[in-house]
């Protein structure tokens, strides 16, 4: 992707990080609406700059072989836009806008957010904690096949 920055020889463990702009231009990620969030979730500094290990991490979690729990953990991080360890209503609204390219009306968005929280929130605090998210994911057998990028 960036032959001038990344050295070929990794035995000395150089500390090379690729900026987020290069990574989200990869063909596998270019059209994904969540590309920035995906890269941010796997970067150490939270800004999206990935070292080689983070890069391998990212694609190994998004591969076919990763276990369901691991995928659920990272999916939660991706959908948690404000990184407060909860998926609150504003996170949901942002997710919906990205999913539908902002073509739903505001009323529909509110309705859908309410329904999602109603269905998934079990302890009644109005936002989704990781346990709620994981429980809901476990009910969706398709998650393993949709949360998967082929390289």
């Amino acid at each position: 992707m960036a032959p001038n920055i990344v050295p070929m020889d990794y035995t000395k463990d150089p500390d090379v990080k690729l900026p987020i702009q290069l990574i989200i231009n990869m063909p596998e990620l270019k059209e994904n609406p969540f590309k920035e969030r995906i890269v941010e979730a796997f970067s150490e500094d939270g800004d999206g700059n990935l070292s080689f290990n983070d890069f391998v991490d990212m694609f190994s979690v998004l591969s076919e072989m990763a276990p369901r729990e691991l995928k659920a953990i990272y999916a939660f991080k991706i959908y948690d836009f404000n990184t407060d360890n909860f998926i609150c209503k504003s996170d949901l609204e942002k997710t919906l806008n990205k999913l539908t390219r902002e073509e739903l009306t505001a009323e529909e968005i509110t309705l859908v957010c309410e329904k999602v929280i109603e269905e998934a929130d079990m302890d009644g605090d109005g936002k989704l904690a990781f346990a709620d998210f994981e429980n809901m994911i476990s009910k969706a057998p398709d998650f393993l096949s949709t949360f998967h990028i082929r390289i």
Partner: protein, 800 residues
């Protein structure tokens, strides 16, 4: 209301506001219904707690419980045990919390479930959450945010983690490591540390002693083997056929269309296995020792379609195979054995029947295994609710990478969300009686039409088959040319394939008219109708072939070869018509839509119909394997060509499906359909043919026997005669295989196991409901506690 006798918790004296509304007699009335459960529960607990609980139940009643009719706390003694230094006021508040005041029966059920399954859960690969240190949870990634607290804390959590992992077994450890959300470098260092610790643990007193030379050798060997194995696995992965094509398809069309191609790949693997087994054990050995009769016919192009003509007396069909032991050193004529010439005899009939039997058995096991695995992944207990949440979080297919397809996916999700919202609103408005009646009429009419068409098709096929038989006999009597006779044979396959092509479109139209409530139901109904038609027609044809014994054949009255040829024709015609369907249904339709009707929409790839066609083709192959051992090779060729043709047509002509398609669920449905009507039907047909049908006298490996099965029996009798030491083998055969009692017994045991599992699932469902309620109550705890705090520390006058 009587004041209670003072008991350990000193609860009632301090209570002022929360007097229960129920009178005492009402409470006891409620409790009597739980009397038995109380007794059971109390027998397990010590006497002291029993007293406490009984006294409590006379008096306590929390606010939140009254609505639910639960009237006492059950976890009181536990909280007392856990927090012995809490004041009684605190304990009072804790006792009042919504989650602690659930009914006794619910609490008893949950605690019993927990006690009984705690061992099971410990045995499973994932350690229970309570034992997992905080560091393994998602917040581990954020420990770099706590940098100000110093590296010491990081080291602490790290060493804690290492200790945790050491305490687990190795399989649990590897599972835990895999599922941990830390970077690969961390995992590698953890593994190294654990590996290092492990060796020191084994030799606790010799901490730094270098390994002995045997140990070193072993270490080298193990690491070498491990790296070889890893290399082999990665090679296997890269050898996966069509990796790039599948990526292209999934990139443009998503997981749903991909499931069709993955199914095709699965079928290809099954056929390759079948073909290789037959090739090695049956075809190749017969090819090395061809029979005396020569092939008199010349090759014309028609054979590729009809399978008759010069193909008749070849390895392709049953009739070619010998019925004696090949390469037998003991010739029956000379009755003298010369085993010294280095010859190995090969019993052809036994090889034929055993190879087919064993390969079917292995195919059965593989099918059932893949079906159960796929079912385990896609079915979840209690997974009926949560449409919106699942749609929002799991509907986005990350595999799709092309811009146009991504836009399409956006639109699809938007449409699906709107549909779901509409459904929700219409559910809240129930349908009027008039509309309900209208729907019933429409549904029953649609089903009547589909059943009527199936019956019509069956009758048509039956009479057409009879008619063609007669025509063929007439043409044989009239002595028209062989080629003409054989061309006539193509008529039945063509008619059946045409019917299989046209009827699904009719069913699709019917489904569009019917307008079922949910799109998933629509797909199921279409699949069901299609499947019924195909399977019943195939059943009818099997009956026709076996009962008429195929009066078609002119040479040697070899009916098996004729059936084999007929099935070959069916397979070839099925392929031709699939090509026709791709051409007409996709290419032509797209041209019409674009050029004539000027619509931007392209035809959609109908996954269900295509998968059913694949299943139909595979059923034909399985039906025909006994009579035409090379049929799996034909099917392999057909599947490979089909892959490339379908892929090209898909890329050029189709758009991704707009309807919801739950890929893993539908994959389970398809593999179940492959197993149950398709494979089971073929196995039944095969078993019936082997057990009860008399083989033809003039050809094939079972010429002289009453039934094909008899060859196996004869062999066992010969075995018995030749070496009396292995009577146990014949005993097994006599009492287990031939005796029906054993089969009934095994079926009975199987049914009992299935019933047990159903009851277990029911129990699990109930527990899930209870646990969900418990979680909701614990959520209410927080609200309750906050209010109480406000009350105590705030300035409110009126507090509850």
């Amino acid at each position: 209301m009587t004041q209670p006798v003072s008991f350990t918790l000193h609860v009632l004296e301090s209570r002022d506001g929360a007097s229960p509304d129920l009178s005492l007699c009402d409470e006891s009335a409620v409790h009597n219904s739980f009397q038995q459960l109380l007794q059971e529960q109390s027998m397990e607990e010590p006497e002291l707690e029993l007293e406490e609980l009984e006294l409590q139940e006379l008096t306590l009643g929390g606010r939140e419980n009254l609505a639910a009719g639960h009237t006492e706390a059950w976890e009181e003694p536990e909280s007392r045990r856990e927090h012995p230094d809490f004041s009684s006021a605190t304990l009072l508040i804790l006792a009042d919390m919504p989650s602690r005041t659930i009914g006794r029966s619910q609490g008893a059920i949950i605690s019993q479930f927990y006690n009984r399954t705690v061992k099971l859960r410990r045995r499973s690969s994932r350690p229970p959450l309570r034992q997992v240190s905080r560091s393994a949870r998602p917040s581990l990634r954020q420990y770099d945010l706590e940098l100000d607290s110093g590296h010491a804390e990081q080291k602490d959590t790290h060493s804690l983690l290492v200790k945790e992992l050491q305490s687990l077994s190795s399989s649990q450890r590897s599972h835990m490591l895999q599922a941990m959300p830390v970077s690969l470098a961390e995992k590698r260092s953890l593994r190294q540390e654990l590996g290092g610790h492990r060796s020191t643990l084994r030799k606790p007193d010799k901490t730094r002693r270098p390994l002995s030379c045997c140990g070193q050798l072993k270490h080298v060997f193990l690491t070498g083997f491990r790296s070889l194995w890893d290399g082999f696995l990665s090679l296997l992965h890269s050898l996966q056929p069509w990796h790039h094509s599948l990526k292209q398809i999934s990139g443009r069309f998503g997981s749903s269309v991909l499931s069709y191609f993955l199914f095709l790949k699965t079928l290809l693997m099954f056929n390759i296995f079948l073909f290789l087994t037959l090739l090695i054990f049956v075809v190749a050995t017969q090819a090395a020792y061809p029979p005396a009769t020569k092939n008199s016919r010349l090759f014309t192009g028609l054979e590729l379609l009809t399978g008759a003509g010069s193909f008749t007396q070849t390895l392709m069909y049953y009739g070619y195979y010998s019925n004696f032991t090949l390469n037998d050193p003991c010739t029956p004529v000379s009755s003298s054995c010369q085993p010294g010439r280095g010859h190995l005899p090969y019993n052809m009939p036994l090889a034929y029947v055993f190879t087919i039997g064993v390969s079917f058995f292995i195919t059965c096991i593989l099918l059932v295994y893949s079906m159960s695995r796929s079912f385990g992944e896609s079915y979840r207990v209690g997974s009926t609710s949560g449409d919106f949440a699942i749609k929002v979080f799991c509907a986005w297919d990350y595999k799709v990478i092309q811009r146009r397809s991504v836009r399409l996916q956006n639109e699809n999700i938007r449409t699906q969300l709107k549909e779901l919202l509409g459904e929700q609103q219409s559910k809240s408005r129930p349908m009027s009686l008039c509309r309900k009646l209208g729907r019933m009429v429409v549904l029953s009419l649609a089903w009547a039409v589909s059943v009527g068409t199936v019956v019509g098709c069956i009758v048509a096929v039956y009479y057409f088959a009879e008619h063609m038989l007669k025509v063929h006999r007439d043409s044989r009597d009239e002595e028209s040319s062989e080629a003409q006779q054989e061309a006539l044979l193509l008529a039945l396959p063509v008619v059946v394939s045409l019917m299989n092509l046209v009827m699904p479109y009719l069913y699709n139209l019917l489904a569009a008219w019917e307008k079922q409530e949910s799109p998933a139901l629509e797909v199921y109904v279409a699949i069901f109708r299609n499947l019924i038609l195909k399977m019943i027609v195939l059943g009818l044809l099997c009956y026709h072939w076996l009962s008429r014994k195929m009066g078609y054949s002119t040479e040697d009255n070899c009916w098996e070869t004729s059936v084999g040829q007929e099935l070959y024709r069916f397979v070839v015609m099925d392929f031709v018509f699939t090509l026709l369907d791709t051409f007409l249904g996709e290419l032509l339709w797209r041209l019409i839509l674009e050029k004539r009707l000027m619509r931007k929409q392209r035809p959609e790839f109908d996954i269900a119909r295509n998968v059913l066609e694949l299943i139909y083709g595979q059923t034909l192959t399985w039906l025909g394997v006994l009579f035409c051992p090379l049929l799996p090779a034909v099917q392999i060729l057909k599947l490979v060509l089909l892959f490339y043709i379908k892929k090209t047509s898909l890329m050029k002509n189709c758009q991704s499906p707009s309807k919801l398609w739950r890929a893993s669920h539908m994959s389970t449905v398809f593999i179940t359909l492959l197993c149950f009507p398709s494979f089971l039907g073929a196995a039944i047909f095969l078993s019936y043919t082997i057990w009860a049908v008399k083989p033809s006298i003039a050809c094939g490996p079972f010429r002289m026997q009453e039934t094909i099965y008899e060859s196996g029996k004869t062999w066992i009798q010969e075995l018995e005669k030749s070496s009396p030491n292995i009577t146990w083998f014949t005993w097994i055969h006599q009492h287990l295989v031939e005796n029906t009692f054993f089969l009934f017994f095994v079926s009975g045991v199987l049914l009992a196991v299935i019933y047990l599992q159903i009851q277990v699932v029911k129990g699990h469902r109930r527990i899930i409901c209870l646990l969900k309620e418990q979680i909701a109550h614990e959520g209410e705890d927080k609200v309750f506690l906050i209010q109480k705090l406000q009350c105590i520390y705030g300035k409110q006058e009126t507090c509850p």
